[in-house]
């Protein structure tokens, strides 16, 4: 990696000042340090934010929970109340990397991590996402790639938590230019949908402070399918949150992961599920609506049945 300065910030404002125009925030470091070692990013200064006060806390609330951006993924995995109140979030956390990674990985870092596309991550491939002129995956090896994109890049979002937070209707609070900016999950990733070089909508200097999760849905679930049993990225993931009365759903949000450069949702699928009783036919129709605009590449057609299976299984889980 290239040489860099190192500083520890003691308040969000000082962190913002220290990071300036060419620095980066360092929390767990899982993603950032790997990017630096491969010369994919070269911040002039790393600003350690692990000492920012209070940002590693989880605050339960009757209407909204607040999860600090420095909360570790393991803390979410282990939190007994989260497992009850936001089951899908706990399930998503438990599938992140390995336990060793989860012990240091933070919520903010998970949300802000960069693409895992094997072309993007390769030191000697200058792909579209790195400012090159070609999406190699479209013309090459696409088995891990997206079914949906708003631009030409088909690298999928790797964050598990973004998918669960999306379904839960969470708000990500970002410090931008001295002000707290609330962003929905779709807001947080819109730019990745629009622009091939973007991984999310964050701007230089933006700092994720916390995630606010409303307690408006009483059931949620997250499931993923990977090639291996544990410690592997999702081929497809699915999160759903809803209120369930008897078997009838309301206030439904269903999100897919690893199939698009954003946590992917289709409003028509959410609307369709509203007031429905879950059975195989309902799940199949919801999956159809989600898949309506899918575009299959040379090697990722198998993600279509994975979407169908996971939509059915997550819906079954919240109505079980």
């Amino acid at each position: 990696m290239k040489a860099f300065e190192y500083a520890t910030a003691l308040s969000p404002d000082s962190a913002r000042d220290l990071v300036g125009k060419d620095g980066a925030y360092l929390a767990g470091g899982n993603d950032l340090l790997a990017l630096m070692k491969e010369y994919l990013v070269d911040p002039k200064r790393l600003v350690n934010i692990k000492s920012l006060p209070g940002m590693d806390k989880i605050h339960p609330g009757s209407k909204t929970w607040t999860i600090g951006a420095l909360t570790t993924v393991a803390e979410i995995e282990d939190h007994k109340e989260i497992a009850k109140t936001f089951t899908g979030l706990q399930q998503a956390a438990a599938e992140v990397g390995s336990r060793q990674i989860r012990n240091v990985a933070t919520v903010g870092g998970n949300l802000a991590q960069h693409s895992r596309c094997w072309y993007f991550r390769h030191r000697d491939v200058h792909c579209l996402k790195k400012g090159g002129d070609m999406c190699y995956a479209r013309h090459g090896e696409s088995k891990y790639h997206s079914l949906f994109t708003g631009n030409t890049c088909i690298s999928p979002i790797p964050s598990n938590l973004s998918v669960a937070f999306g379904a839960l209707g969470a708000t990500v609070v970002v410090l931008r230019d001295g002000k707290e900016v609330p962003m929905s999950i779709p807001d947080l990733y819109q730019k990745a949908w629009d622009e091939p070089t973007a991984h999310n909508s964050l701007q230089q200097g933006d700092l994720i402070l916390r995630v606010e999760v409303p307690v408006e849905n009483h059931r949620s679930a997250y499931l993923q399918i990977s090639e291996k049993s544990v410690f592997d990225w999702a081929l497809v993931s699915c999160a759903v949150a809803a209120n369930v009365d008897g078997n009838k759903l309301s206030n439904v949000k269903i999100f897919l992961g690893a199939v698009s450069n954003v946590p992917y949702q289709v409003q028509a699928a959410n609307d369709f599920l509203e007031g429905k009783t879950v059975d195989d036919a309902t799940a199949a129709k919801a999956a159809d609506l989600l898949l309506e605009k899918a575009h299959v590449q040379a090697h990722n057609g198998y993600k279509v049945p994975l979407v169908r299976a996971l939509v059915r299984r997550t819906l079954a889980q919240i109505t079980a």
Partner: protein
């Protein structure tokens, strides 16, 4: 000639590894751990082109970086430049130069500072394209596709017409990378006294030879040390480029230089198992005996295989018809070059792909003939080495596994998650020879047993201690076992599962002679056990040194094994969960039961990776290896490992036979057969991923 003790106390016992505590605590120093005074980091600059003619290499900018002590060209590049020949790179990752410096970071900086200019050349990285006449050639003078070797026995076409049932299939296996946990590398000191090399190797003698020849230093002035090493699987013979580059850097920098490859580099340039594309046709007569076989295979060893660094053949040519007896056969095999790193011997070279193809079509034919796959095998596994052993093993294993109850018609398992079972057999040589050893008995009663072998992590040191302990009537802990040094009696490389059948007879011979010598010298009639210390005291001042060597009659050859697998396949997600693998393996006389079982476990775990996860992925538009890391070059993880049950087929009368390789041969075939049995549809391409399962089930579509 000595014989194995009839009632040993330690040989064949479940003794834990004698070096286990050192490995667990980190006290064991691997070649990548050693830090000789003044050592430097070394790193290698590699081609970033799949094919290119280098027009300029300037090392000077690297040498200007503070902390950089030396920069040299890779031997092959240096040679080409000196003879004013074109310097052509033929794969992404080929060695260009090396640097040595005081930190990893200065070396990384130096690699980026070296100026390399090149004219890119056309390349090809996929076998199917490389086969075509108009494909870019990897080697200018040779077509990529070799002239096929054809072997024919009997009258194949006529024989097929006489068959009651014939099946055809196309089976493919990927390029597999060795990926030992300790990457390839050496720490080398080359000064006026000669060369000392701490090598992560499976052959200290072949590193010895390679350094002596490659550096033009007399063999007597080269010493190779490998007290511990972190796995090789066939890819770590000889000093290879990284060893020679480290040596030249050491000479230039006048300091020891340590080059251990990064995981990234490890996946590019230090060997692999060739791919295979097997078209097979198999026919049997009414009674279920195989009658006709046709086989047409090609695969790639990258830019080539074999050669001085390969530790034998690379395994491009498969065994066909594998372990089965077929009277009429036509076998056609070819290799195809691509612009990728060359192949090297890999745990049971040529066998896992041979097994996967043949055992797959065996099940296809058994199903077509409405025969139980085990019955079908018993009928046709009747002539190749160890066939009688496998006959017994199938019967024993089937009973233990509950095959009769578990084997159902393919695809008949109800529900979304379907269960299936499969089996497959293997044979391997495992012959030994050529080892020498020595024992030094000290007047204080302590004893050293030395042998110039190396322990690949398999337990060599442990069984050396067990044997010596039994002969001397001592405890294994009382034996100081020393290996991994070319100053000890030579013992040859660890390949072909030959280490234990080579080393153990030499240790038995040495210790038996040492005991005799002690008794003769001291006049103690039986110096064993309680009499040991007293006898040793009588030696006086000098210790007693005794040499011995491998003797015929103590080791065997031709081991047989069978494996059974049970899997669950989720037909909606394509996910395969291996529930159980049963191993029935013959290893003749088992020297060390626990480490032997560990090796069999390891073989199954690796075979499972071959079945479900491992595959080198090449990109046609950039020519790079796309997955040079454990994130996307996937290995079996702890969470994936099933219940593995081992039945050791004890046959001490056959002597010691190596079992390091055979246990990994049939695993992928058995799992593949179990998946086919579950689904009623065969996934005929490894690895069996969710993508392939769903595609085979016709589900990979939008509508």
């Amino acid at each position: 000639m000595p014989s194995w003790p009839e009632k040993p106390k330690y040989i064949s016992s479940h003794h834990t590894r004698i070096d286990g505590p050192f490995k667990v605590t980190g006290a064991a120093k691997y070649p990548s751990d050693v830090q000789p005074e003044g050592w430097l980091y070394g790193m290698i600059l590699r081609s970033k082109w799949a094919a290119a003619k280098l027009t300029k290499i300037n090392l000077d900018p690297a040498l200007k970086i503070p902390g950089i002590k030396a920069a040299v060209l890779a031997p092959a590049v240096d040679e080409r430049q000196k003879s004013s020949s074109d310097v052509t790179m033929r794969y992404y990752g080929e060695e260009i130069a090396g640097v040595a410096g005081t930190s990893k970071q200065v070396c990384l900086d130096a690699l980026r500072a070296i100026e390399v200019e090149a004219t890119e050349l056309p390349y090809v990285v996929h076998e199917e394209e490389a086969k075509q006449d108009d494909s870019p050639r990897v080697w200018e003078d040779t077509p990529n596709l070799s002239k096929p070797r054809i072997r024919e026995n009997g009258e194949v076409d006529k024989a097929f017409s006489e068959c009651a049932a014939v099946v055809e299939g196309f089976y493919t296996t990927p390029v597999q990378i060795h990926n030992p946990l300790e990457t390839h590398g050496n720490t080398v000191l080359w000064n006026d006294d000669g060369v000392t090399c701490w090598a992560s190797t499976q052959g200290i003698t072949s590193v010895h030879d390679g350094l002596s020849q490659g550096l033009h230093v007399p063999r007597s002035q080269v010493r190779v040390i490998s007290e511990y090493m972190g796995g090789g699987f066939g890819s770590k013979f000889g000093p290879i480029n990284e060893g020679l580059i480290a040596a030249y850097l050491s000479k230039a920098a006048k300091a020891p230089v340590k080059i251990f490859l990064t995981r990234f580099d490890e996946n590019l340039a230090v060997g692999n198992r060739p791919s295979s594309f097997q078209k097979i046709k198999l026919g049997a007569k009414e009674d279920g005996t195989l009658h006709a076989f046709e086989f047409d295979n090609y695969g790639t060893a990258g830019i080539g295989g074999g050669g001085p660094t390969a530790g034998g053949g690379s395994g491009l040519t498969l065994r066909a018809p594998y372990i089965y007896h077929v009277p009429n056969t036509r076998v056609k095999q070819a290799g195809v070059n691509i612009n990728a790193g060359g192949a090297r011997a890999f745990r049971a070279p040529s066998c896992p792909p041979s097994s996967f193809g043949m055992e797959s079509i065996m099940d296809e034919l058994a199903v077509k003939m409405n025969m139980d796959p085990i019955e079908f095998r018993l009928k046709n596994d009747t002539s190749t080495p160890a066939w009688q052993i496998r006959q017994k093993q199938y019967k024993l294993g089937a009973e233990r596994f509950g095959w009769k109850d578990k084997y159902k018609k393919p695809g008949s398992s109800p529900g979304i998650i379907k269960t299936g079972v499969g089996c497959a057999g293997s044979s391997w040589g495992g012959r030994g020879g050529g080892s020498h050893a020595e024992a030094e008995i000290h007047p204080d009663g302590s004893v050293e047993v030395r042998c110039g072998t190396q322990d690949l992590g398999t337990g060599t040191k442990t069984y050396m201690a067990l044997i010596a302990a039994d002969v001397f009537g001592l405890k294994p802990e009382q034996i100081s076992v020393r290996i991994g040094d070319t100053r000890f009696p030579p013992s040859g490389g660890s390949g072909g599962s030959s280490t234990s059948p080579s080393v153990s007879p030499a240790i038995l011979d040495t210790c038996t002679k040492a005991l005799q010598a002690l008794q003769e010298k001291t006049g103690v009639a039986d110096a064993r056990g309680a009499n040991w210390k007293g006898a040793c005291k009588k030696l006086g001042v000098n210790p007693l040194l005794t040499k011995g060597e491998w003797q015929d009659g103590l080791s065997g050859n031709d081991t047989g094994g069978v494996q059974f697998a049970e899997v669950d396949v989720d037909t909606e997600t394509g996910f395969v969960k291996v529930k159980k693998v049963l191993v029935v393996q013959d290893g003749g006389l088992i020297l060390s039961r626990l480490t032997c079982e560990s090796q069999l476990n390891g073989g199954v775990i690796m075979g499972m990776g071959y079945a479900l996860y491992e595959e080198r992925v090449m990109d046609k538009n950039s020519g790079v290896v796309l997955n040079p890391n454990f994130e996307t070059y996937k290995l079996t993880g702890l969470g994936d490992v099933p219940e593995i049950e081992i039945i050791l087929f004890d046959m001490p009368e056959r002597g010691v036979i190596g079992i390091g390789e055979p246990s990994t041969i049939p695993t992928a075939a058995a799992i593949g057969n179990a998946v086919a049995n579950a689904l009623g549809v065969r996934i005929s391409s490894l690895p069996i991923t969710p993508q392939k399962v769903l595609t085979a089930l016709g589900k990979d579509k939008l509508a």
